[in-house]
Structures are given as structure tokens and as C-alpha cells.
Amino acid sequence: MRGCGSGTRALRLPLLLLSLAAMCLSEDALSGPTTTTQSTSQQTQNILNNTPTEHNVSTPGQAITTQGVHQETRESFSENTSGGHDRSTDGPRYTTQQTNLTWMAYNISIPGFSSPLIEKNITLDSPANIELSCTVASVSTHAVAIEKTWKKDTKTIESNVTSNETKNVWSTQYKLQIREKKDMGSYMCVMKGEQEVQAVFHLKVPKIKGKEKPIVSYEGDSVVMVCESGNYIPITWIWYTINGSHQVPINDSLMPEKYIIDKTPANKTHLKIMKLTGQDGGLYVCQAVFKLGENNGEVNLKVLNYMVPLKPFFAIAAEVIVLVALIFLYEIYSKKKEMLAEGEKEFEQIEQLKSEESNGVENSSTRHRKV
């Protein structure tokens, strides 16, 4: 079904949405609220595979700025649950500019009682309505009172006991409205009957991609450092330089000839540092500020002296000169040997001729004597 056909569908819709995003962003970036849509078809695929490993599926959605446009988001649903999806757009009204937010559902399907703890990462960059559900299939119980608990971080937030479960399926849902930073965190569902099952949803702000390997540059040169937030658009970016253990923000308006911070496109930030000195080396932190929190990326800068690459350069150049000289010397040496050998050959030939002549003279003299 949906999950199986995710291949081509996954191509078309994101492309459409991205082009929408491009149009909107070009007019008025970052002014309106952002709605992230999550492509969870991949998540359902993973669930279907029933791998009891940590689902690190923070699949990137598409970030779209809306300006009073009702957004049709792509909902997900698992193959197992039959109901419990609220696809209507009856979210609560807000006093902010936000429009009606649709609900996004995330499900964890727990394969069995003895499986290890299943975790799911959900990436959010802006306020959203979330419905979390946990399902255990193939439960062979008869009607037994099941205690269902939802916990945030470690505190219990909801707990009720139900009975008369639909046969062979235990499930529980919890609706959340994520509006600010404190709404983020880890939400755990616990279902306890004769045995207990648990699953955890981690709600996190998007990861920031900096650079793992250090950037190398030279004194007097300029360098550009880039951080990316992928498909999410933060409200703003802040760059810090690490001074000892302090984070010192970089203000490019104070020192415009040294630092230039470029914030377009919105999901990337460029920090250009000019006239580098040795002290400019070290760790730089780019922070993306979202409505629901912040996240950091790191870029390491190494500033080298010009002498550093000159040493290998001279070493290799010296090796080249030595080799060329050796080759030429060998050539001269072998040519001399050849000429000597030729000279010896000629000398031998002349000797031979001389000896023949002298033999001839002797013969003639002997003949003369005989006569």
C-alpha cells in the first residue's frame, strides 16, 4: 500500500512541496510560521521490518513557509492500527499568526513482550500537534485490566486502566500540542497487563551539520565556514567562538572587516573570517535557534603558517633535482665508457694491421734473403 509505493510518491510530492517552498521563501523568508511535514512512510517501512533496534528515523520533512495558507500535510499511519487517526484539521485556535495545524501521528509497533526497548526519534523545528501511539500486536490474552501510562522524561503525565481490549491488540494513544521548548523531550508509553511493554518517543530539534574534519587555512587568508540545517529553517543563526570554556558570540556588525555572516539561504549559514591570524584557530559553534529549542553544529579551524607546506615542497623539489642530476651523470658516465670501449677497439684494430704489416715485411725480407 502506501508504504510499498513510497518510492515514486516520495519523489513527486517533496518536489512539489519544495518548489512551493522556493516560491514562498523568495518572497518573504522566515516571516511566517513553518510547518514541517514528516515523511513517515519510511518509518512504517521500518516498523514493518520489525527490527527491534533503535529507530533512528529522523527523516527529513519539507519545510514550508505558509502565510495563511491551509497546509495539507501528509499523515502517516501504520499498517497495524485500525483507527485512532485524527486527520481532520480541528486543532485548537491560536492567537499567533499560525494557521490550523493538522495532527501528525507517530506509531511504535512493539513486536513482542520480550523485545528490547524501542525508541523513535521525531524531529520538529516548529510548533505542531502530535499524536503518539503505541501498539502491541499478537497479544494472546483474554480480557484483562491493562494499565496504560504515559510518561514525560520520568514523570507520569497520564495513566488509566482499561479493560475489554479489542482482541489481540493492545494500543494506547496520547495527544500532544508542542508549542515551546519545554514541550520537547522524551515521551514513554507503558502498558502493563500480565507483562509490561514500553516504548519511547524522543522529540528533538533538528540536527545541525557542521564539519567533522578541521578546516585548514593560512595566516592572512580568508576562510568560509558553513553550517547546514537540512530541510528545516531556523529562526536565526548565531555563531560562537570558544574562548577557554566560554562561548563568545560573534558580532559581525562590530567587526565588519573581520567577520561576515551570511544567512541566505535560510537553511545554511556562512561565516567568513578574513585576515586570519594564529589566534583565530580553534572551535567555532554555529547555533540554529528554533521555536522549540536550539541546536549546535561545530566547525574546527586550523590556521597554519606558510612555512608548513613549504617544507614538503622544498623536500620534493630537492629530490627532483637530485634524481635529474643522477640520471644525467649516469648518462655521461656510460657515454664515456662507450667512447673508451670504442677507442680500445680502434686501437686493437690498428695493432692488428700493424702486426700484419710487420709480418708481411718479414716475409718479404725472408724471401729476399732466400733469393
Binding site: 574534519k213 578546516i215 585548514v216 587555512s217 593560512y218 587568508d221 580568508s222 576562510v223 568560509v224 558553513v226 556562512h270 597554519l304 608548513v308 607546506p309 613549504l310 614538503p312 615542497f313 622544498f314 623536500a315 620534493i316 623539489a317 627532483v320 634524481l323 635529474v324 640520471i327 644525467f328 648518462e331
Partner: protein, 484 residues
């Protein structure tokens, strides 16, 4: 006393001895010329970020480099005809080094185009052609093997340069890397130093004859007009040479589809869902198979069954290459692509190993100097057009298979064309040989002495020798004197 005339060179090539040192040097220079532009692409991302330009603007650097390397062919040929291989290669190595060192101080993309693209590219041109030329001067009987070994330098150098570039970039940044690469390119001078000049044997009689020859040459030079003088350095009469024309047309057609599949192999793999590292691994497989295919092809081409009909072998390998590309769209998973890479590497190596050998076989070692320059400048256009046309096909249809079909079709066509035309050429040559034998019995004897088919080179050149210079005639005179 007289050297047996089995080729149009006025001496017997050593076919070994110092020749192997020359082959080693040639493999270094050929390796740098072909693999340096490819290995350079590692710096693109960083340069894009620093100079804030698009990918296509950065890609112009290597395009200009390739264009200059191939377009500088005729100039290279003229210089080799005038000065010999050694000084030209040493000067080329210096140019490459200077180009890269100045590139490390560049502050704009235009300066990079000039330093890396033009200067280093021209330096590589001055490296490539003379290396191939001097192999023809040192080898005759084992020439295909020598060519195969020299061309094997390209994949070996690519496998070395690519990780080396990455290492340099991680430790020294792009400016430091360019500086050190300049020093590494200076090693072409070492290779050039190995290219000891070789010519007609210099005994005492020959020395005098040379002196006399030089004097008469000087007298005659004043009488010549500039056209004939130009011909001395770049033999344009080659355009009347049947074999040369066949080779030119066939190769120009072939290069239209030669390089595009390599450029798009990794993107195609990623397109069908393979991860980045496995896609890069495909190219490594290609390079490794290529590395072994080239000397092996040289060995096969040298055998007594293949050498007389080496043109057929060349056409077959081109068609085989084309067939691989035509079958590629059938490979829909990683295993299929691995099989494709193996066969592609094999075919690619076969074609590259014989690329210059077949030209030498057709025109002879002395005229090869000019021939290689003219051929490379003609191929320059199609080499540059190939990948962009492939890219346009991919963008228009959104599917890679049309690019593969186009490349495969073009190469199969080129292979078939070469096969048919060379069949015709061999027949015409056999007819001419018979005609020469009946016309001039004495000449025919020296021809029939060697049962080697590459005696044909001499007859072929003998017929078209007249529009050439008097130097060739003088060489014959010298030989005549030595025979006496």
C-alpha cells in the same frame, strides 16, 4: 655493417635496454597527464565555497585543462620535431610545477582558470605527446607491449593521486595542497631526464656523413619557402595518408562516447539507490581492472597472431566497449553494476593501451610525431563535447539509460567503421606491396627479407615520401653511404 631496414627509422631501435627506463618515465608522464584532471575534482567543493561560484563554473577548470592538454598537441609535435623529446618534457614539467605553485596564491576564479587550466594544462600537453613519441623511437618489435605498459601509468597514478589529494587537502588546506602538487608535478622533469635522445647510429663514417648532410641541409633550407619549412615541423601531408584519415575519423567519432560513462557512473549508481561509498568503489574496481588490462592488452597485441592485424583488434575493443554500454541499462542492482564496471574497465584498458600503438602502426614512427599532434587537436572537440551531451540527455529524459545507449551506439558505430575501413586499407596495402615487388625486384628483396608485416610501414612511407622533406631523403643517402 648496415643495419637491417625493418622500419622507416634509419636505425634499429633497441627494443629493450634503456628502453625500459624510457617506458617507466613515459608511464609517469602519461599517468600525470590523464589522471591529474580527474584527481583534481576533490578540491571542487572547497573552491566552490571559497569563491562562491556554481559547480559548472568550477568544473570549467578541468575542462580547460583537458582542452589545453589535447589542443596543445600540434605545438608539442612541432617542438619535438625541432628539439627532441627530452627538453620538451623537462620544460613541460617545469610549466606544470609553475602553474600549480602560482595557483596556490590565486585570489579569483579567473586566475585559477589561467594557472591551473591553461599553464598546467599546457605543461601536461608538453608531457603527454613526447612520451608517446619516444616509445616509438625505442621500440619496434615490442612496441605494443611498451605502449601498453606506458599507458598503464594512468590508472596507477589515479589510484595514487586520489587518496594523496585527499590527504594533502585534510592536512594543508587547498592552498598548501596546490603548492605541494606543484612540487609533485616537477617529477615529470625526472621522467623527462630519462628520455635519452636516440637516433641513427653514430660511427666514424656516419659522423662525417652527418656533417656533410647538415651542410647540404643548410644550403637547401634557404631555398625552401615557409610552407615547406612548416611541413618540416608539422607534417600536414598526413592528411593525404589513407590510414591516418581512417584513424582520425574513427577516433574522433569514438571519443564522443568514450569518457561520458565514467563521469556518470557514480551518479547513476546513486540514482538507482546505491550509497556514496559503494558508488565510489565501482570506480575503484574500474581503475584496478584497467590497470591490469593495459599491459595484458599490450602483450596480446604484441603476439605474432595479433600484431599483423592489430587494427582489427583495436576496432573489436572499441565495439566491445560500446556493447558494454548498451547492456548497462540492464544492470539494475549493485551486482549488475559491479559486473558492468569489470567489463567496462577491461574494455577501457584495451582501447587506451592500443590508442597510440595503432596510429604508430599506420603512419610509422617518424611521421608519428606530427600525426599525434594533429589527432589530439581533432579529438579535443569531441572529448569535451561527450560528457556535456550525455548530461543534457540525462537532464532532458531524466533517465540515465539514454546516455548509455548513445555512448554505446556511437562506439559500436566507430568500431564497425574502423573495422571495415581497415579491411579496405589492408587490402590496398597488399596490392601496393605486390605492385612494388613487381616494379623493383631489388627493393622487393629487402622487403621480402623480413617476414614482418611492419615492413609495410617503409613502403607506405616510400610512396608518400615525396611531398615530405628532404631530410628523409638525406637519411636514405646516409644509409646508402653506410651500406657501401
Amino acid at each position: 655493417m648496415s643495419p637491417p631496414l625493418t622500419s622507416d627509422l634509419a636505425y634499429v631501435p633497441p627494443d629493450g635496454g634503456w628502453g625500459w627506463a624510457v617506458v617507466f618515465g613515459a608511464s609517469i608522464t602519461v599517468g600525470f597527464s590523464y589522471s591529474f584532471p580527474k584527481a583534481f575534482t576533490i578540491y571542487f567543493k572547497e573552491l566552490q565555497a571559497v569563491y562562491k561560484v556554481s559547480y559548472s563554473q568550477i568544473a570549467w577548470i578541468t575542462s580547460i585543462m583537458c582542452a589545453t592538454t589535447y589542443g596543445g598537441g600540434p605545438i608539442s609535435s612541432i617542438l619535438v620535431n625541432r628539439f627532441g623529446s627530452r627538453p620538451v618534457v623537462i620544460f613541460g614539467g617545469l610549466l606544470c610545477g609553475i602553474g600549480m605553485v602560482s595557483a596556490s596564491f590565486c585570489t579569483s576564479i579567473m586566475q585559477l582558470y589561467i594557472c591551473v587550466g591553461l599553464i598546467s594544462g599546457f605543461g601536461l600537453a608538453l608531457n603527454l605527446q613526447p612520451s608517446v613519441i619516444i616509445i616509438g623511437k625505442y621500440f619496434l618489435k615490442r612496441r605494443p607491449l611498451a605502449n601498453g605498459l606506458a599507458m598503464a601509468g594512468s590508472p596507477v597514478m589515479l589510484c595514487t593521486l586520489a587518496p594523496l589529494n585527499q590527504f594533502l587537502f585534510d592536512n594543508f588546506g587547498w592552498r598548501g595542497s596546490f603548492l605541494i602538487l606543484g612540487a609533485i608535478l616537477l617529477n615529470c622533469c625526472v621522467a623527462g631526464a630519462l628520455f635519452r635522445p636516440i637516433g641513427p647510429a653514430t660511427g666514424p663514417i656516419q659522423k662525417e656523413a652527418n656533417k656533410e648532410g647538415k651542410e647540404t641541409a643548410k644550403e637547401e633550407e634557404e631555398d625552401k619557402d615557409c610552407c615547406a619549412k612548416f611541413n618540416q615541423y608539422l607534417d600536414c601531408s598526413l592528411f593525404k595518408h589513407r590510414g591516418f584519415l581512417i584513424y582520425l575519423v574513427g577516433n574522433v567519432l569514438m571519443f564522443l562516447g568514450f569518457f561520458a560513462p565514467i563521469v556518470f557512473l557514480a551518479p547513476y549508481a546513486k540514482h538507482i539507490g546505491i550509497d556514496e561509498y559503494s558508488a565510489a568503489f565501482l570506480l575503484s574496481i574500474l581503475a584496478i581492472v584497467d590497470m591490469f588490462a593495459r599491459p595484458a592488452t599490450g602483450l596480446i597485441a604484441n603476439s605474432k597472431w595479433v600484431r599483423p592485424k592489430i587494427q582489427y583488434f583495436f576496432s573489436f575493443s572499441i565495439a566491445f566497449n560500446g556493447a558494454c554500454h548498451l547492456l548497462c541499462p540492464l544492470a539494475s542492482d549493485y551486482t549488475g553494476l559491479i559486473i558492468y564496471s569489470v567489463f567496462f574497465g577491461l574494455a577501457f584498458g584495451m582501447v587506451c593501451a592500443m590508442l597510440f600503438e595503432t596510429l604508430m602502426d599506420l603512419v610509422g614512427a617518424t611521421r608519428f610525431t606530427s600525426a599525434v599532434g594533429l589527432v589530439t587537436i581533432a579529438e579535443c572537440c569531441t572529448i569535451l563535447l561527450g560528457p556535456p551531451i550525455g548530461g543534457t540527455l540525462i537532464d532532458t529524459f531524466g533517465d540515465y539509460k539514454y546516455m548509455f545507449i548513445k555512448c554505446g551506439a556511437v562506439m559500436v558505430l566507430a568500431g564497425t567503421f574502423l573495422f571495415i575501413m581497415n579491411y579496405y586499407n589492408y587490402r590496398m596495402l597488399a596490392k601496393e606491396e605486390k605492385a612494388m615487388a613487381t616494379k623493383d625486384p631489388e627493393h622487393g628483396r629487402t622487403v621480402n627479407e623480413g617476414s614482418n608485416d611492419w615492413d609495410r610501414e617503409k613502403i607506405q612511407d616510400g610512396q608518400e615520401l615525396e611531398p615530405l622533406t628532404d631530410e628523409q631523403g638525406l637519411k636514405k643517402e646516409i644509409n646508402g653511404l653506410s651500406e657501401a
